[in-house]
Every structure is written in C-alpha cells, then in structure tokens.
Amino acid sequence: MTTLLDREYSFFHKSLNMWSRLILLLAAVIVAAAVFFPLWKLHLIAPQYADGLDMQIYAYKIEGGGLNGNDLDEINLLNHYIGMKSIEQADFSEMQILPFMFGVFFLLAMRAAVFGEMKAVVDLFMVASYFGVFSIGAFYYRLYSYGHNLDPTAPMPTEPFTPLIFGTQKIANFTQSSYPELGTYLLWVFMALLLAAIWFSRRAKVSGL
C-alpha cells in the first residue's frame, strides 16, 4: 500500500521532459485558438429552406448563418409560432465565462510547460474534463429549457421536446441536425495533447529527489 502511494506520489512529482513541454505549448496554443472557432452547429433544413438555416455556437457568441446572420432571427421567428422563447446571446450566461475559462486553460498549460510539473498537467486535465462534462450538461439543459418552456398561448401548440444535441431528428417540417464544430474538435485535441504530455513523461525522473 505504501508503495502504491509512493508510486503515485512520485508520479505526480515527475519532471516533464522536453517532448511533454513542447506538447503542452502546442496544447496551450490550441485551447486559445478554440475560442475563435464555433463549438457547435445547429442546422435546420425544410422544403422552404433548401439551403438550411444555421446557428453556430461559439465560446462567446451565437451566430446565425445566412446573409448578415439572419438565420438566427429566422429561427426565432419560426420558433415564436410554437411559443419558444427567443434565443438571445444575452441569455447564455456561460458565454461570459467560457472565453475566460479557455484563457485559464491556456495559462495553466503554459505554466505546466514552463515549470514542467506532472501534477500540474494532471490537475489541468481533471479540471478541463470536469469543465467539458459540465458544459455539455449545461448546453443540454439550455436546449431542454427552450423546448420545455413553450408559451401555452402560442399559435401552434406543440408537445414539449428537447432539441437534439448530437445527431439528426425530424421536427415538424424541419430536419434538425446538431454536431460539434472545429472549436470542439480543438478542445478534444487539447485534451488528447494533455494525455500525450503525461504519457511521454511517464518514465521521467521525479523532481526534487
């Protein structure tokens, strides 16, 4: 038992080798870049909207597709018929935190690269994982609330529903699909790079011993 704890202790106190540090630098750049790309995309297709209506979710904004971003207004306009409340960027409080969190991940990755501590990388991985799961959950809750708080006096009463978070489904005349976008892929790469940084230094020597 002691040995296991010792081993664990010593693992957390390993110094990162040059490979791991370089990988962490790359991870820092990638998580910073993820801010600038859409994380998720909702795509709606109907006979009248052959080109589809797009809504892209960024860390800090919601953007409609089409000319001058009009797709978002159009989606809201259509949603008002079923009494769904308007999707407004201001309602997404997490958008004030997300870019900040990405910045924190950037700094933590840089810090880990500079100081070269294994435990810093493991901490970062754990926090980022927790954050990722929480975000998906929050996103799901958003979609759930939009679909379940429908105005009962709306012109077209509709059974409450949850817009799909991942995949494709049919809602009335629309085929809705929802898939991650480049920003999310970058976050996954970021996570993978953290694991890689840990892996490459798994046999490195323990610092301070």
Binding site: L67, N68, N70
Partner: protein, 669 residues
C-alpha cells in the same frame, strides 16, 4: 402603337397566310416521321430548363402600352416577373404608396418601347435598364440590383413622342432620344397644322446619366425639322461618339401620313456627333428653351448630317465592330448598309449631295456599302458578333440571316448571295433581339423574334390576343425555332443579359434602410394625432401588423409608415386597406408610406395581401374611423389595447413586450 402604317397591315395579313402555308409544309409532330420527332426532341431539350434549374439569360421585354417591363428567362422563355414602370401595378403595390405615386406623377400609363442596358466600354455592365415612354415623353431607370424603377425623368421638355429612345452610349454617358412627333415649341404653343413645315419641330436629346448614381438630367438638345424620327442606335469603337436615327416623314406630311409620308424614295436619316454637340454646348453655342441648352444644327456645323435611306426606314442598328450601320427599308425589300469610315471621309471631303435647312446631306453613293435584298418589310437588324446579321421581315413574316461586309467583289455584284438563311415566324415580326447585339461582344447563341400577331396559335382567349415570341437558335448555319411563348401587350424591343452578369439582392439590408420613418421593433410602433393628421408607424412581420388597430375619424388624413422588418428572402407582406383603394406591398427590409384621406365612418379591416406564412390569414387589423365630431385629443397617442396582448418575438416568458405607456412620439419629420 403599331409601328406600321395601316396599308401594311393588309399586306401583313397576306404575309401571315404565306407563312402559314409555308408552315404547313413543315413536318409536324403528327406526321409520325422519325426525323420530325428527332427535331422536336432536340428543340425540347434545347429550351428545357428542369424544375429547380435556372435559365442562362435574362430577357427584358418592353411591355409596350402596358407601361411595364417583363422579365423572362432564356432558353425556357418562362415569364419570371414584371417590373412596373409607368403604370400602377397592385401586385407590387406600385403606384399606391407615396414614393411610387410620386414616381408616376400625373400619369397612369406609359408606352415602353426600347429597353437599353447600361454599358461600360461598349459592353453591358449590369447596373441599370433604361426604358422610354413613347406616349408621355419620359425615360425611366430601373436598377438591376433590385429590379425596381428608381427614376422617371420627364416629360422631357421641348420633346414630343419619345420613340427614338432609349439608346445608351458606350459608357452610359447619355441616353439618346429622338422625337417621333413634332409640335410647335416650346410645348404648349398652338399653331395651325397647315404650318406644320415651318412651325413644328422635332428634337434629338442627350439625357445625361450620372456615372455614380445613375441620376438622369436633360443635357442638351438639337433642334430638327419635323421629320418623325423613328429608331436609332449609338456608335462604338470607330463610331464612338456618334449616333444614328432613321426618319419616316421627310415629306413633313401632317395628315394622311400613311400615304403622304410614303412619297419619297428616300427619307433622311440623322447622323449625329453627340460628342461635338456636348462640346458645342460647353462652348456656349446653345440657346436656352425651358432651361435646356438647344443647338441649332444650321448654326453649329459638325453636329448633324443627313443621309438618304430607302424607304420609310425603321431600325438603324450599329454593328458590334462599330464600322457598319444597317437601316431597315420597311417599304423597300432591302437593308441599307452604311460604312462609317466612308461617312467620316465624306464629311472630311465635304462630299455632300445637298443640304436641308443648312444641314449637309451626305452623298448617298459615297457612304452606302450596299443594299441587301433581305426580303419584304425589313425592320430591325441584330448581330451575332460572328459577322452575321439578322433582319426582321415584317411583311414576309420571316427572319433573314445575312453576311455582313466586308464582301468580296463577287458578293457585291449580287448581294442576293450574302443572304444565307430565312426562317418563318408567326406572325408579322416587329423587333428581334440577338443576345448582346448592341454591345461590342454579343453573346450570340439565341435570337428572340417579337411577333406582333399571334393569330390563334395559342388556346383561344377571345378577341384580345397576346403577342407571340419565338426563340430561335442561331448557333448553326441554319436558324432553328425551338420554342414559342405568348406575352401580354406588347413587347417592342428587348435586351438579353447573361444571368451571371448581375447579382440582385433578395432582401433590403436593414443597415441600408435610411427611411427616417423606419422602425424595427414593435415597441416603436403606434400612432399619434396632430389636428386632422394621424400618423402611424407600423411593423409587418410573420404573421402580424403592429399595431393591429388604428383609430381615426372622418376628415382625417391617415399616414402609415410600414416597415417589413423581415430579413429573409421572399418574406413579402402586403398592406391592403379595404374599401379605401389602398394596397402597399413591402419587400423584406423595406419601408413604405401610404396616405389615405378618410371620408366615410366605419370599421375598415386591413390585412396582409401577399401570402406570407401559415398564419397569413390571421395577419390583419382594423382601422376604426369615427364620426367627424368624435373628440380625440391632439397629441395623445391612442394606445390600442391589442398592442399589450401581442407577444413580441423578443419577449421572454410571455412578458408583455409593449407596455401601454411606452408608445413613442412620432418624430415630426
């Protein structure tokens, strides 16, 4: 108007029969011959545009006395839209709102003859389409960004019968127009018709076009004898800076023109140096009439020349190289081909055969390259840019294809030999158009014959018969008619534009809406009263008007500024006010203003006239017009109770979007 004297109409009848008989000889689908079936299949495929696919070209037809422009696609010949210009068009609310009412002025019709696309360096630049009004002496400019009439200039001062129009110069410096009618000038002067020769005048006008905005103004005019100018075209390349018109009444007859204007073997055509005219005006050589600088060509040499053309000619078309000008003989079975280089030489050498009222007449034989025996009733000539000309033959009901100069000596000896092909059209063709013919680089490929008579080739629709348009493939040695369509009265001329030459907008961007009365949220909507003026600002969006209740009383003038706050393609709303003769149509992002004088008490529904959505029927409201003695205090906004109940799209959780107290003052603009 029919451009042809009545005597020819009888001939036309004969021509039509002849063409019909010729048509009988042609294989028909019923013949069962494999060759005919193959031909039909080939033509069907050539003109077929499958559902969902788009045409390759725009066809802008003039709508004649309908006062409109029709837009069709080539090769399908499908009518796509109508652009209202000189006539009200309730389908687009044209002529109902204040802006388009002002555009129309005092007239409710016009006679659109010759559309002309704007050009840069002798090719279409896709910016504007200019059309003339033969009846009320106007020129209109349609913006091809949104296919809307933006400006109507006129009635042009000192100008009567704007038929020889609208001919666009190489870089759209001017729209050149000439008068079909002559009257004593300035307009409003009364003179005896017996004094036609001495007291009546025609006019050639340069309508200046602002290169940025397209705004038109009358630049200058050239006073002419009362010859009845007919049709013309502008020079390009070597003939840059020049323009040409035929006339059909050099006799200066003022009655029984059918006979009296058909006496001379040749009528005088005008050869105008418009750049020289522009310079002469700059040099102060003009006198003013009605604020327009007018040049007397007898006193300003070099601006105008004449050349005799056989006989009562109609079209006068410059070819894509700018070297040749072809005039259609109408009453003589030839086209006259003028050589511009020879015109230049004759002018330089003062090789004149006489003069008329101080203006030199060029020596006919020195400037004419040849008279091509194309057939009976040649009217207009178009070009494919490959050295071929296509002339419409009104009386023969045919299109003749012939070879342009330069000709070999053998060809010159017998110009019958340059006539390459003829094809029957149905019936009595007026104008024809080859894609891009009046540019330096025609697209060629297609020719549209605009036939004056359809004579029952369509399902019978009673005595008012449509016009007939035939699509002719000109890519081969032989012309091939591939499709036929019918149009409302009455295409005279047309322009064909490659579809990818323009990229029209489909919504008016909110950012570009500069209307001071535009509003974009329901919160800003409402009405205010000032004395007998009730002003409302309204939004239209799927599927409601805000406000959906207006309050007024008899004697009020109701002004409604409506903004369609949609930004989605094809989300058009109409505002029809029942029993008040009002229908305004709003494209996405557009603001329009309507005014109604209220004379009868009652409750008048208003509703969306342009089907917009599943709840389009529900898109309605009420105008309550109380008796004249109803007391409604000034400056106190009426707050329609219904406003409170209208959920705003942007409202959260059913919160009332429009609190009753938030009705804004309408700015006094």
């Amino acid at each position: 108007m029919k451009m042809i004297p009545k005597s020819l109409m009888t001939l036309a009848g004969v021509g039509a029969c002849a063409a019909f008989l010729a048509g009988c000889g042609k294989p028909s689908s019923g013949s069962g011959s494999a060759g005919a079936d193959a031909e039909i299949t080939k033509n069907a495929v050539a003109s077929y545009v499958p559902p969902g696919e788009k045409d390759e070209y725009y066809l802008f037809y003039s709508g004649g006395h309908s006062g409109q422009v029709f837009v069709a696609g080539i090769p399908s010949m499908r009518h796509i839209t109508t652009i209202p210009v000189f006539s009200p068009y309730p389908g687009m609310g044209y002529g109902f709102d204040e802006k388009t009412k002002k555009l129309l002025g005092d007239y409710t019709w016009g006679d659109v003859h010759h559309p002309g696309l704007s050009q840069t360096k002798g090719d279409y630049d896709g910016r504007w389409l200019f059309v003339n009004d033969n009846a009320n002496n106007r020129v209109a400019r349609i913006d091809l960004r949104d296919f809307k009439t933006k400006e109507i200039l006129g009635p042009i001062p000192n100008s009567m019968g704007n038929h020889g129009s609208s001919f666009v110069t190489e870089n759209t410096e001017y729209i050149l127009v000439a008068t079909r009618f002559s009257v004593p000038l300035p307009k409003g002067t009364v003179a005896d018709l017996e004094d036609y020769e001495s007291k009546f005048n025609g006019m050639v006008s340069g309508i200046k076009v602002d290169p940025e905005s397209g705004k038109m103004s009358v630049g200058w005019q050239i006073l002419t004898p009362p010859f009845d100018w007919d049709l013309g075209s502008t020079g390009k390349g070597p003939s840059s800076g020049w323009a040409f018109w035929t006339s059909y009444n050099t006799e200066m007859a003022h009655d029984q023109l059918e006979t009296n204007a058909s006496q001379l073997d040749r009528d005088l055509a005008a050869v105008v140096n418009w750049r020289a005219a522009e310079q002469a005006v700059k040099d102060g050589k003009a006198t003013e009439m009605n604020g327009v600088p007018i040049l007397d060509p007898a006193k300003v040499p070099g601006v105008l020349y004449y050349v005799g053309i056989a006989k009562s000619p109609h079209g006068m078309d410059v070819d894509p190289t700018g070297e040749w000008i072809v005039a259609g003989g109408k009453l003589q079975p030839t086209t006259t081909v003028l050589n511009f280089a020879k015109i230049q030489k004759a002018i330089a050498d003062e090789d004149f055969e006489g003069e008329f009222r101080g203006v030199p007449i060029l020596n006919h034989d020195s400037v004419v390259e040849g008279e091509v025996p194309v057939g009976l009733g040649p009217l207009h000539t178009q070009y494919d840019g490959l050295g071929n000309a296509y002339t419409s033959l009104f009386i023969d009901s045919q299109v003749a294809k012939w070879k342009m100069p330069p000709w070999t000596d053998a060809e010159k000896k017998d110009l019958n030999s340059v006539v390459l092909d003829k094809i029957p059209v149905h019936y009595s063709i007026g104008h024809l158009v080859v894609a891009g013919s009046d540019t330096m680089h025609p697209y060629g490929k297609w020719l549209v014959a605009m036939n004056k008579l359809s004579k029952g080739r369509h399902l019978s629709v009673g005595p008012s018969q449509p016009e007939d348009s035939e699509l002719i493939d000109i890519t081969g040695q032989k012309m091939r008619t591939v499709y036929e369509s019918f149009t409302e009265p009455e295409p005279h001329f047309a322009q064909i534009l490659k579809a990818d030459a323009i990229k029209p907008i489909e919504v008016y961007p909110k950012a570009e809406n500069t209307d001071p009365n535009a509003i974009w949220t329901a919160e800003e909507a409402g009405q205010v009263r000032k004395g007998n003026e009730v002003v409302a600002k309204m939004t239209a969006i799927r599927s409601r008007f805000v406000p959906d209740r207006l309050e007024a009383k008899v004697g009020d003038t109701l002004t409604v500024h409506i903004t369609n706050i949609e930004q989605s393609s094809d989300m058009i709303h109409g505002f029809g006010l029942v029993e008040n003769n009002m229908n305004v149509v709003l494209d996405p992002g557009e603001t329009r203003t309507l005014k109604v004088k209220l004379t009868k008490p009652g409750v008048y529904p208003y509703y969306c006239t342009n089907f917009c959505s599943a709840l389009h029927q529900e898109m309605q409201g009420y105008l309550v017009v109380r008796n004249a003695d109803a007391v409604i205090p000034d400056d106190e906004p009426v707050n329609p109770a219904s406003l409170e109940a209208v959920p705003d799209t942007n409202a959260v959780d059913g919160e009332p979007a429009v609190p009753a107290t938030s009705m804004p003052e309408v700015p006094k603009s």
